[in-house]
Symmetry: C2
Subunit: 211 residues, 2 copies
Amino acid sequence: MRESRGILTVVSGFSGAGKGTIMNELLRCYPDCYALSISATTRKPRPYEREGVEYFFKTEEEFCRMIADGELIEYAQYVGNYYGTPRDYVERQLEAGVDVILEIEIQGALKIKRDRPDTILLFITPPTAAELGRRLAGRGTESAEVIRSRLMRALSEAEGVDAYDYLVVNDVVEDCVRKVHSIIQNEHSRMHRNLSMIERLQRELEEFVQE
Amino acid sequence: MRESRGILTVVSGFSGAGKGTIMNELLRCYPDCYALSISATTRKPRPYEREGVEYFFKTEEEFCRMIADGELIEYAQYVGNYYGTPRDYVERQLEAGVDVILEIEIQGALKIKRDRPDTILLFITPPTAAELGRRLAGRGTESAEVIRSRLMRALSEAEGVDAYDYLVVNDVVEDCVRKVHSIIQNEHSRMHRNLSMIERLQRELEEFVQE
């Protein structure tokens, strides 16, 4: 009873919430269910990065043309480089029935939700502020000032989070991965994604009655 | 990260969809998670029925007073008897953090959703109209006319179903029970049910920054 189209899920969360680990584990545990969206960027590739795997590498001119032609579902500038989500790759996966996962910050996520209300917004958080503080403090080698600025950034990262659909606590990684998987799979049972099944059932019932 | 309050879930579905079996199995498999709402009725108790277990038995006068005093979250008349859902029992369970399940038809369900938007509406259906037809036909002892009227009733039972939150297919009972359980549990991760956790995290982060 799975409808054919995939679902786009945007994952955000505090730095230090473990988003990267969760997403890698999600793809490792359920490789047939999910595709990670691949970003376009004007940043120079690092030695190990492959075109179309880690990123689609673009010149600034190419990137600006993609913006102008509406080829990106969102984009942002960060430390002098552009990053964006190509519409084409996402659309092809969704049409093939694959659920697409996209990791971006809240402002981009809210923009996508406005354009595509069917998108699921999922926010990942450590269980407590103390735990978040410990993760941001890293291995204890950072200065108080660095930790303070990371905490400030975490605070700003939560602005707008009340517009998200789900809050998932990352306490034990495997539990969190199972939870995220289960949330996305259950979204396939949402009534608005299954109206065609209801219509088909009603049509078939009417045919029975007329027989 | 479970918020303390329980969630009210209304289960509806075609006659013949297997709602009763699903709900009994749900309570048997996860006895600590769920309470079935107990209806009040003006119908006479059958020999095996116990007050406060199968039903709260009321005189018509008592029932009408409950309606007048707003003590029912919904009620309906069926074959000359009143049936309704006492608010008090549901509220006490929800406050104790127990998820409450209520089986009623669509019109009552939509009324509850209007009054309590936080309610989850879940519609259970057999996988196909042919399968529904087989289940309605029973053991083949029913007349064509009886089956026809059941099919007609099934058709009317789906009126308004597009306002439901979830459509769950009952093909294999155990799968369906697991699905219903997982949907209700994931609803606890909905952002609007966890805003107090986010607020607490933000407050604690602010305290860290100020230290």
